[in-house]
């Protein structure tokens, strides 16, 4: 069964679809990453990058695995907590903390995936949502998490004990944490590279086949569930990477990162940008986060706006922004 987009999903044909070549996104990301701080507030840009990675990881599952998880925040958030705790309480160096967070999310992904993968489509979404709620309430109740105050004051520490990530240089427009910035940029690009690699790998092909005709893949001897689970764990771990990095950037981990609203938000990012395209989630993330940032004086109209965008995406342009562009380009060939 087509678990996602039975109405002509955006095709993955690397030959035609330049927007899916690894170079363009990476180049764009890098270029943007380098120039952005001159126009935008660096810390904000770093947050953008984290969410972009989160959305990318999510898209790996939805866009390419055809599985809609509605509880992905639990990987993002719990990794943030784990990494934060490691840095703050156990005094881990940042790289170790982030690795721990990522691994933790991966393991959590394995557990949740093992349960959820047995169901398809809507059920899958619901199951992931429910299991994520368990994680949410656990985070809320654990004393270490600091309840609704969140896990505060996560130190940035120094990378491999040499590069001080807290250090800032003043470039005339307020302090700029160069080291941290470079680090986050590197992590994000690495993450996106892995996503691209996965999509365009033998595994990616097999996954696509499974998405398109599960029974047939089974009769060809593919262990379908194992493949889906792998995709799920990968996506979870990458989300964890994003979460940990964000914790490092913002210096705190809070409940909002684990809540189902966040799960909804990452769906929106992916949908808005265009699922099944590599660049889409990045664009989506940038738009949504910027929206939150810019509208932050509009009060509850933020919710309304977000909701409206959701509706518009679903009703008007289901391919998402990038997907739409890709589609146009294909047409013109």
């Amino acid at each position: 069964m087509a678990i996602v987009v039975s109405d002509k999903p955006p095709r993955q044909d690397p030959k035609v679809n330049t927007l899916n070549s690894p170079y363009l996104p990476c180049f764009l990301a890098l270029a943007l990453g380098v120039v952005a701080p001159f126009f935008l507030y660096p810390v904000f840009v770093m947050e953008l990058m984290c969410f972009a990675l989160f959305a990318g990881a999510f898209n790996l599952l939805l866009g390419f695995g055809g599985l809609l998880s509605f509880g992905h925040a639990c990987f993002f958030g719990s990794a943030a907590y784990l990494c934060g705790h490691a840095l703050k309480v156990w005094g881990f160096p940042p790289e170790a903390g982030i690795l721990l967070g990522t691994a933790g999310a991966g393991v959590l992904g394995l557990a949740i995936g093992a349960v959820a993968i047995r169901r398809q489509g809507i059920y899958f979404a619901m199951v992931t949502l429910a299991l994520a709620q368990i994680v949410f309430f656990t985070c809320l109740q654990l004393p270490q998490s600091g309840g609704e105050d969140g896990l505060q004051g996560i130190p940035r520490g120094s990378l491999f004990g040499v590069v001080d990530l807290a250090a800032t240089v003043d470039l005339g427009y307020g302090p700029m944490p160069l080291a941290l910035y470079a680090f986050v940029l590197a992590v994000t690009c690495a993450g996106h590279w892995l996503i691209w690699r996965t999509v365009h790998s033998p595994f990616g092909k097999a996954l696509k086949a499974i998405r398109e005709n599960e029974a047939r893949a089974l009769s060809l001897g593919y262990r379908v569930d194992a493949y889906k689970l792998t995709a799920f764990v990968l996506s979870a771990a990458l989300s964890g990477l994003a979460g940990s990095t964000k914790a490092l950037v913002v210096g705190l981990a809070s409940l909002s990162d684990v809540s189902w609203h966040m799960s909804g938000e990452v769906v929106l990012m992916t949908l808005l940008g265009g699922m099944g395209t590599l660049l889409g989630p990045v664009v989506g993330a940038v738009l949504v986060v910027t929206l939150h940032h810019e509208l932050s004086s509009l009060g509850s109209w933020v919710t309304v706006t977000i909701g409206t965008i959701f509706v518009l995406c679903v009703m008007a342009f289901r391919r998402g922004i990038v997907g739409e562009i890709v589609h146009r380009m294909k047409r013109s060939f």
């Binding site: 087509a2 678990i3 996602v4 987009v5 039975s6 109405d7 809609l68 509605f70 349960v115 047995r118 169901r119 489509g121 809507i122 059920y123 979404a125 619901m126 199951v127 949502l129 429910a130 299991l131 709620q133 368990i134 309430f137 656990t138 109740q141 189902w260 909804g264 769906v267 949908l271 009060g299 509850s300 109209w301 933020v302 919710t303 309304v304 977000i306 909701g307 409206t308 965008i309 959701f310 509706v311 995406c313 679903v314 009703m315 289901r318």
Partner: protein
């Protein structure tokens, strides 16, 4: 905490109360999913709307029209609110949902998710987030009756009775009449159903009307017990989803029975290990799905 028989019995009563409430909500959800293949994320919002219609009808309408005469009491609200909410639902169905039946279910979920946000946001703007009291509880339902082991609020007895009655009525209409099989056929293969002379579009609107009207009704019933606030549906909805999934999506009876059962389970947990109270449902769900992937009453399709 003493675990005397009486206290256990009282907890059971309370569990039953919540159960009936879950049943009413999850029923609407199950109807909409089972018949339209739409996961109605806006269900919580419609529930909230129902409560607000009652509230506005009671407090604001008279102020607006400048006369107590125009106030909407509890009993009329019990009918008016669901119908009104249902009509809003129909509008949504006719203008938006309608265009999503052809594509993957996922889009229905996303659309309703967006709608939920919109409703919530708008009401947050005009109403006190902490909530407002609903003063419309009819005097006859005030006070409590002595059940021997506890004093149980009359109103809650009433709400149990009402919920169960409505649930059974709906179950009957869908499972025991032509309507049910028409609806099912309409979902499974609209083209052929239409070719048989079944007015599928009309049926769909009707179904969605029914589903959200149930949510609206639940809202009115809840108004006198909980304070009416824009966020009242947001968190409840996820629990209700769990109920439907456990019951087996689309299974009417499943939703009803599971709703009741989970109310009771939750009740017991609240006594013996409260911290687990709002995760227990999800844990149960995980276990059930491990054991029976289609849910307790779900058919393999």
């Amino acid at each position: 905490m003493d675990i005397s028989l009486s206290s256990v019995l009282s907890q059971i009563m309370l569990g039953l109360n919540n159960g009936a409430f879950y049943a009413l909500l999850s029923l609407g959800l199950a109807v909409i999913f089972g018949m339209l293949n739409v996961v109605n994320f806006a269900h919580g919002a419609f529930y909230m709307l129902g409560a607000f219609v009652a509230l506005i009808g009671l407090d604001y309408l008279p102020r607006l029209l400048g006369s107590e005469a125009f106030g909407l009491g509890f009993w009329p609200a019990l009918v008016v609110a669901p119908v009104l909410v249902g009509l809003i639902g129909v509008a949504v169905e006719k203008t938006m949902l309608r265009r999503l039946y052809q594509v993957d279910h996922l889009y229905g979920l996303l659309l309703t998710f967006g709608l939920a946000l919109i409703f919530e946001g708008v009401f947050t703007n005009y109403f006190n987030v902490a909530g407002e009291p609903y003063g419309g509880k009819p005097p006859i339902l005030d006070g409590a009756v002595n059940l021997g082991f506890m004093f149980f609020p009359r109103y809650r007895l009433f709400s149990i009775a009402l919920s169960l009655a409505v649930c059974l009525a709906v179950w009957f209409v869908i499972e025991r009449t032509r309507l049910g099989s028409y609806l099912r056929a309409g979902t499974e293969n609209p083209d052929v159903a239409r070719a048989f002379g079944i007015d599928v579009p009309m049926l769909r609107s009707l179904t969605y009307f029914l589903g959200v009207a149930l949510a609206g009704l639940a809202g009115v019933v809840a108004a006198p017990i909980y304070s009416v606030s824009p966020k009242m549906g947001a968190d409840l909805i996820i629990v209700v989803f769990a109920v439907v999934v456990i019951g087996g999506m689309g299974s009417i009876m499943g939703a009803i029975l599971t709703g009741l059962a989970l109310g009771l389970i939750e009740g017991t947990v609240k006594v013996f290990y409260p911290p687990l109270a709002n995760t227990v449902i999800f844990i149960v769900m995980a276990l059930v799905l491990l054991w029976r992937p289609t849910g307790l009453f779900g058919k393999e399709i």
